[in-house]
Amino acid sequence: MTAAVHREESFIGKWIFSRDHKVIGLQYMFTSLVFLLIGFSLILLIRWQLAYPGRPIPFIGDLLPDSLAPGGIMMPDFYNSLGAMHGTIMIFLGIVPLGVGAFGNYFLPLQIGAKDMAFPTLNMSSYWVYFVGGVLMLSSFVLPGGAARAGWTSYVPLSVISSGQTTWLLAMTFLITSSLLGAINFIVTTLNLRAPGLTWSRLPLFVWAQFVTGLILLFAFPVLQAGAVLQLLDRVAQTSFYMPQGLIISGELSQRGGGGNALLWQHLFWFLAHPEVYVLLLPPMGIVAEILANGTRKPIFGYKEVAGSFCFIAVLSFMVWAHHMFVSGLKTSLSYLFMTTTMTISIPSIAILTCYLLSLRNASIRYTVPMLFTLAFLPMFGIGGLTGLPLGFTPTDVYLHDTYYVIGHFHYVVVTGTLIALFGGIYYWFPKMFGRSMNMFWGKVHFWGTIVLMNLIFFPMFIQGLAGVQRRLYDPTVQLHNLTVQPTNVLMSYASWGLLLFQVPFIVNFFWSIFKGARSEENPWQATTLEWACPSPPLPHVNFEKVPTVHRGPYEYSVPGREADFWPQNEEN
């Protein structure tokens, strides 16, 4: 393959409309980190309202317009908007673009020894469609209708009659299109552009995770696209796909034709949303596998079991969605089926966790910062996974559904699971991306502060859930059964504000190290996968000086009879 003639690109061509997967990866990273911060700050306002219902928010209160928070006291509508946008921004604009867009775009081609993604222009347009979707989603706060307020799940008929949803739906269409373009790229790149010798059983688990995630996105997102189009028409064109007969809205009989079914949206939405939560989970599990093998200096225990479990999760994730609907009028016969499939899908997650934990045996563990995050991922994701059992089991789900137990469950999986692994990934691959390493002392400060405070926020949610505190309550003290556990809200609120403080060292450390971090050589962690076989940052447009050929599995650490305890994939002998 003739090396691409390196023409001097203008600043625009090089950084803004670049087709280089590394630049697009960085664009995704910076944008998704900003969105994560925005989404996180929304919930800090909610935490004040939950801790001290009805009292004016101290500093920010009077900055907010009177339509949203007169006299600094947050109105219920604004509270619902904050909650809905927190969920939407964190999932669709924050974590998935960080896990799939940033890490996937940057490191998938590197780890398979490719020059770039299969379709560079498609890759660039996927970022810009995501960017437009993100801006549109955020702009809904200032648009006349205000932000969406029917939860990130946007259940009908509430989402059809309340304002702010049209912008949400349009922005979602952009985000879905962006994810689909990205998924096409990931699948074709993994299938077609693997370096010579890189067979499926030598593929790093991170690549397995991204490939399987691409397939899940490809098959799941279009169904939500269909659902969103139907809901958009219900809102804008007065059709009634989801609007049943004879609705009486604020006193008057609605003039719609009626005949639709409100549960149809829930089926279409959760058909995407459950595979989506595995899209949130799989890339970080891939990152954990990479860092764990590197930190324990030994091959991941049961490579085939883990890769097999990824595929098994992907297939099963399309058959479990209605466990979100056990109490929503789903027919009882179907709830038996979905309870069984939900319990079956817990097996591959347990299998993966078992393999990761068994990798610690006979290891030689290095407590580097990425390794700290990875080791913390294991128990935290364990709690998240285990608390999923009572929610997938119908008799207990009857009580726990739509309470704070559910919120504790998915935050343990997504925040102390996925986000912690993604932080570990940032510390681990920062030297490769910028040629400098992040400050490890501040990394440890960030780690310990984040882990402790996250547990202080999310563990009391289980206590609230068992006490029956419903989710999305503007003022929990109105319900008498919430009064006893109300003090936990105060603790959780202070912990969440503390968590914001502990992100400051990370943010400063991240941007400071890009320019001033200590220089690091090509393979600082002495890892074996291909992305360490090219200069850091990798050569623009071609990554590797010469196309690497792969001779062995991805995690050949501590091979007996060799003095170096790591054996890179591309080394001949």
């Binding site: 259940y155 009028g329 709830s335 319990m343 006979n362 559904h401 989710r471 501590s558």
Partner: protein, 252 residues
Amino acid sequence: MNPAQSNYGWGLPVAASTYADKIDRSLLILHAAMAAIFVLWAVYMAYCLVRYRKENSPKAVYSHKSTLASYTPDVLIFIFEVWLIFIVGVPIWAHIREELPAPEDATVIRVVAEQFAWLAHYPGPDGKFGRMAPSLVDYAIPLGLDPQDPDAGDDVASVNEIRVPLGRPVLVTLTARDVIHSFFVPEFRTKQDAVPGMENSIWFEPVMAGRFEIGCAQLCGLGHYRMRGDIFVLPEDEYAAWMAGEQAGRRP
């Protein structure tokens, strides 16, 4: 009588319906199993973190062999789950969802959820619900009861308050008028979405008299948090007296 704070503690609220203790037992079994699994893994992991740290074991042991024994956690949990679902779960779920009591020996009530209130509708002594027309709905008659309908004569309607006699199961037919709400009574461990355009029926049988709180568990708009109501479980005679009072109030 306001609900003594005793109904709600730091753990589960008081189990005030027949199947509440079944659900509590399932919760206990599950959480005990989860705690056991977590503790076992935590102990194992802590041991590994200390025993196999770099200083203590400078050279890792290279192996790709995944022994059969490594599958024991998965197999054990799978067996536990199979037992849990088919032996424990399915019977309880069938009991809660499918064994609805016969209408004649249960207190039958229609509950219509609307944006931010629970409208209860009792059939009255004749046991028959009056016709409800959406077109008749207005402030005076929130339920839209048709006055001319003979059955509606003795119907009783109430807002955010439901009275039921102790000792008989309660059969509730749930529907909603505008958006999806969710009828949730923590003490009875019962929860069911009220979906517009659909009639979901649930049942519970209180085992103690008292005042229990209804909450809405599905986001239904800006008033979702204040959409609360009360279920008063009255002894048989008190309930009869109340119903008689309602009827007496009816005849001019």
